[in-house]
């Protein structure tokens, strides 16, 4: 690839050495009962950089607690306001200590102690105002591609996804990895059928075996659930089988060697290509691995992704809290219908456009968005967020051979 000068990227340096491409105040509800008050705080703050995240369940869960720890100390997050009802099972003090230890401003409001909805709202608005003023004083420093973590996900795939948008993201991933960025692809349940090809790309045979085992786990899990990760819209768009969808999705990974197999919340130790295993360990306990695309996006963000490349054929409109989402539209007809939501028209490949040109456009856009330019979904105010119950065992030593 021709080396052209990259747009200047800047980031906010955090205590752990990572840099954030955004400086978000996260307002986090710790149970659904605190969701509305938290949402009011976010809405009435009137600021685009105040984002709503949270966990709805009242029962404690190791996975969701660790996810909240990772999300609240994500490099794009500058400060956190925790909102608790008061009686839920979430360990709010431990989370507060974890965030404080990361050097971020953090505060906690307990609705039952603050005196209800209105008093908590008013207190929350004051806290968020102070936090934003403090973050405004932080000065960004230069940031290089090798400090960037990029995740990719597909949603609303159709018969064009595997021909246009996914291989174009694959090219972009190859170039990011050449520049020593960390890139993460995921959804092992949507890689069923690709396990042997993927294993052959692993940097060690042991990692290759772990990848095959992990896809077997996904296939077994989905068989028990009774549905593969295959939606009616996939079929209407020309995809027939799960393995066909998988082959198309797989091309997002590009052609770099696979450096590791990680689980939600594991942060890639260095540049390279990583596969994120999103399917819970053990017998199915809490339902489908990811109930919709944003549950996968949140897991990519918990692994440190600064931004997300989202490929879509049928036409998804979602964005995310915390990290910007760049939409790469696979289908030229969908692009014409939904251009306002799409950052890249990869469907033009079907009309004679070059795969490398689209890959290059995505590669440039990654750097522009990392440099502060809003993606389409970000400018439209999309800040979707989902976190549910799951269970995972820690990864084994063979999963990160380079570590």
């Amino acid at each position: 690839m021709n080396a052209t000068p990259a747009p200047a990227m800047k980031g906010i340096l955090r205590k752990d050495g990572r840099k954030g491409i955004r400086n978000v105040v996260a307002v986090a509800y710790l149970v659904e009962c605190a969701h509305h008050v938290s949402r009011l705080i976010v809405q009435r703050s009137g600021a685009d950089d105040v984002h709503l995240i949270g966990f709805p369940g009242c029962y404690p869960n190791k996975y969701s607690f660790e996810m909240m720890q990772r999300l609240c100390t994500h490099p794009n997050v500058g400060a956190v306001l925790l909102v608790s009802l008061g009686c839920e099972g979430f360990n709010r003090e431990q989370l507060r200590r974890h965030i404080a230890a990361s050097g971020r401003p953090v505060d906690l409001l307990v609705i039952q102690q603050s005196g209800g909805t209105t008093r908590t709202l008013n207190a929350g608005l004051d806290i968020v105002r102070r936090m934003r003023a403090e973050l405004a004083k932080q000065v960004p420093v230069p940031m290089a591609l090798n400090e960037l973590v990029v995740g990719t996900v597909c949603g609303g795939s159709d018969g064009t996804s595997g021909i246009t948008a996914n291989p174009a993201v694959g090219r972009c991933f190859d170039w990011l990895i050449e520049n020593d960025a960390a890139c993460i692809f995921e959804e092992t349940g949507e890689l069923i059928g690709c396990e042997r090809i993927m294993a052959s790309r692993a940097i060690t045979p042991e990692l290759g075996r772990e990848i095959e085992t992990c896809v077997d786990k996904a296939a077994n899990y989905y068989r028990i659930m009774g549905y593969g990760s295959f939606a009616p819209g996939n079929a209407e768009g020309g995809l027939t089988t799960l393995e066909e969808k998988s082959m198309g999705a797989y091309s997002k990974s590009g052609s770099s060697p696979i450096s590791g197999l990680i689980k939600p919340g594991d942060i890639p130790p260095r540049g390279g290509l990583y596969l994120l295993d999103v399917v819970p360990d053990g017998e199915p306990r809490f339902g489908f691995p990811n109930i919709s695309d944003n549950a996968e996006i949140v897991e990519l963000i918990a692994c440190g992704s600064h931004l997300i490349l989202f490929t879509t054929g049928r036409g998804s409109v979602v964005g995310s809290a915390i990290s910007p989402v760049i939409k790469v539209c696979a289908n030229p007809d969908t692009y014409e219908r939904m251009a306002d939501d799409m950052d890249v028209n990869a469907g033009r490949i079907l009309h004679g456009g070059e795969l490398d040109d689209v890959g290059r456009e995505i590669f440039d856009l990654v750097q522009q968005v990392a440099g502060g330019a809003p993606s389409k979904s970000e400018a439209l105010g999309h800040q979707e967020f989902i976190l549910t119950y799951k269970q995972f065992e820690p990864i084994g030593p063979a999963c990160l051979p380079a570590a």
């Binding site: 593969g228 079929a235 079907l350």
Partner: protein, 103 residues
């Protein structure tokens, strides 16, 4: 976006594939090129859908991108639509829903 008229409407993704993909919506009766030969499309096919590149017997492994994507449930003739009604997963069955005409 304007179509490039020189581009063939059927796309062969890999030389070993036994299906081709519609690069755009193609009407029934439209004359297209398939493997260098002129061919009349028997039934309308939508963008992204698959056609048999040659006659396929039941239980034939279907190859796309050069990789297996399932097996034929029944035999089909050359140029026929290959989809849920005649192709099954070798892993987990696909589910779908009724449509009301909206795609």
């Amino acid at each position: 976006m304007s179509e490039n008229p020189r581009l063939p409407p059927l796309l062969l993704l890999h030389p070993e594939d036994n299906i081709v993909v519609a690069r755009r919506d193609i009407a029934a009766g439209e004359r297209v090129e398939l493997d260098g030969q002129s061919f009349v499309i028997p039934a309308a096919i939508e963008l992204g859908h698959k056609l048999a590149r040659r006659a396929l017997a039941a239980d034939t492994r279907v190859l796309k991108y050069g990789a297996p994507i399932g097996s034929m449930k029944v035999a089909v003739g050359r140029g026929e639509h290959v989809h849920l009604h005649n192709l099954r997963s070798d892993y987990i069955p696909s589910t779908t829903r009724e449509t009301d005409g909206h795609r």
